[in-house]
């Protein structure tokens, strides 16, 4: 299986709406061989529709108090 290049996006110290803006920017340029590791302090409810619209896949890898991590890929 091909190993995808990891791109880490940590928005956990940004206030709304910048986490969302940064995430959407990153999603729009995500390549086939890349995987976006998205870190935030909370579950980004508004991001899911963009993920679905771009037909991307996602796995939530951490969802605890003040810590959220999701892997997004094509």
């Amino acid at each position: 299986m091909e190993t995808k290049k990891e791109i880490i996006l940590d928005v956990s110290e940004l206030e709304a709406p910048y986490p969302l803006v940064e995430a959407i920017n990153a999603l729009n340029i995500l390549k086939d061989n890349e995987i976006l590791i998205f870190r935030h302090r909370m579950n980004p409810q508004m991001l899911y529709q963009n993920i679905l619209a771009l037909q991307l896949q996602f796995d939530i890898t951490k969802e605890e108090e003040n810590e959220f991590e999701m892997r997004i890929y094509k």
Binding site: V21, N25, I29, Y48, N50
Partner: protein, 417 residues
């Protein structure tokens, strides 16, 4: 680079804004008629006091909450109201018709107006609960936020039912005071408090780069609050004074607990910058703690200071908190709607000018301070209300500014063929 949000479920921008503008108009009306009707009232049972309280709770608080829910439900729970434009129109119209009859009924003592107002209001509250619960249950998640939202609507159903029952007391059918007390408890400790908690759980970490509230608090406090409210209703109907006192202490303690956690979380936020909303939040939470403590004191010692407690809780606690939320939610919604229409030049920080927000909030602080002198110098009510009038006007202007900003930038919308 940023290529927009895809929240097709979001209702038109004008829906929440219409509710917010109307809410601020009610504040203007309230500041004008307060000196006229309160110069000679001293009890919370006076019809004038009930009328003015409902202008604030239904005219201001309810409009803000309903308007926000129409908009925030898709943002927070990823589910939207069906036929949102039609439903918003129905709710807005009947809420205002009902409120007008209700207030006029209390101020003029014309009973058929009271009855008509009560029927309209109860009908529209039940309808709003129905469509909201139906929407919430569409959510695939059953997280703390969903649970808290459901709990707040359950409290609203009880509050409305008991409020309508209390109204029947004005026609001589039941004991108005008994059912009125249950109505107030479910409204304040239930609907308003639980909804404020739910929204705070989301807004504080989102806008203030703060830690999340503990999950135990998020998942347990609303359950405790609902159980206590049901016991409160039982104790009040049974007229069990001892049980009532214990429950009042526990209900107030829950509120104090939440307020302390809010202050703690805000104090520990990662980017502690000067922010008018944070100041309002601290002020609101401090007054909430004070009013809940006084409520415990009054319940134990049976001291009648309920008008002051009510003033402190509503005008010192709930009002500044809603004001703080508005100054975060309105710029966010404006940016959000513009972005989802592919207008990317908009900046959240430019939607309402900071200087004008500060003027408005400072006038509110001044008015609150002046109201504190009213028990000693009754005529201070005129000066305090006059200052609040200007604060309410500024709030209205600030919301209009956001609307104008939106209208100006939406012209730049790019339409793809």
């Amino acid at each position: 680079m940023f290529q927009g949000l895809t929240l097709d479920q979001a209702p038109p921008y004008t829906i929440p804004i219409k509710f917010y503008l109307t809410a601020s108009l009610y504040l203007i009306v309230l500041s004008i008629i307060t000196p006229i009707y309160t110069l000679h009232v001293y009890s919370r049972y006076d019809y004038e006091v009930i009328a003015l309280t409902h202008i604030f709770t239904l005219g201001f608080i309810t409009h803000i909450m309903f308007g926000s829910l129409f908009q925030m439900m898709p943002v927070m729970l990823s589910v939207a109201y069906t036929k949102v434009v039609k439903n918003a129109k129905i709710i807005y119209s009947f809420l205002n018709i009902g409120l007008s009859f209700f207030i006029l009924g209390f101020l003029t003592n014309i009973t058929y107006m009271l009855g008509l107002g009560g029927i309209f209001l109860a009908g529209i509250f039940f309808y709003f609960c129905f469509i909201s619960l139906k929407t919430i249950f569409l959510s695939k998640e059953f997280n703390a936020l969903v649970q808290n939202f459901i709990a707040s609507f359950i409290a609203l159903i009880f509050a409305t039912a008991f409020g309508f029952t209390a109204l029947l007391g004005h026609f001589g059918f039941v004991d108005s005071v008994k059912y009125g007390n249950i109505h107030i408890a479910f409204m304040l400790f239930g609907w308003v408090f639980i909804l404020i908690m739910s929204v705070s759980y989301k807004i504080i970490p989102m806008f203030f780069v703060a830690k999340e509230f503990s999950l135990i608090l998020q998942k347990r406090l609303y359950i405790l609050q609902l159980i206590l409210l049901l016991l409160f209703a039982y104790a009040q109907i049974q007229e069990n004074i001892f049980m009532l006192t214990i429950i009042k202490i526990l209900l107030s303690s829950c509120v104090i607990l939440f307020a302390i956690f809010s202050i703690k979380i805000l104090k520990q936020r990662k980017r502690a910058r000067k922010d008018i909303s944070v100041n309002l939040w601290y002020f609101a939470m401090s007054n909430t703690i004070l009013s809940a403590t006084l409520f415990i004191y009054a319940s134990i010692l049976h001291v009648d200071i309920y008008i002051f407690i009510g003033f402190l809780a509503l005008f010192g606690g709930i009002y500044p908190l809603i004001n703080a939320m508005l100054y975060k939610i309105i710029p966010f919604l404006t940016w959000f709607h513009l972005s989802s229409n592919m207008v990317f030049e908009a900046e959240m920080g430019n939607v309402i000018r900071k200087k004008w927000m500060t003027y408005q909030v400072n006038l509110y602080f001044l008015s609150f301070s002046l109201f504190l002198f009213v028990p000693f110098f009754h005529s201070f009510i005129i000066i305090a209300a006059a200052v609040f009038f200007f604060s309410a006007i500024l709030l209205f202007i600030n919301i209009v500014t956001a609307l104008k900003y939106y209208n100006e930038y939406i012209k730049k919308k790019v339409v793809f063929e």
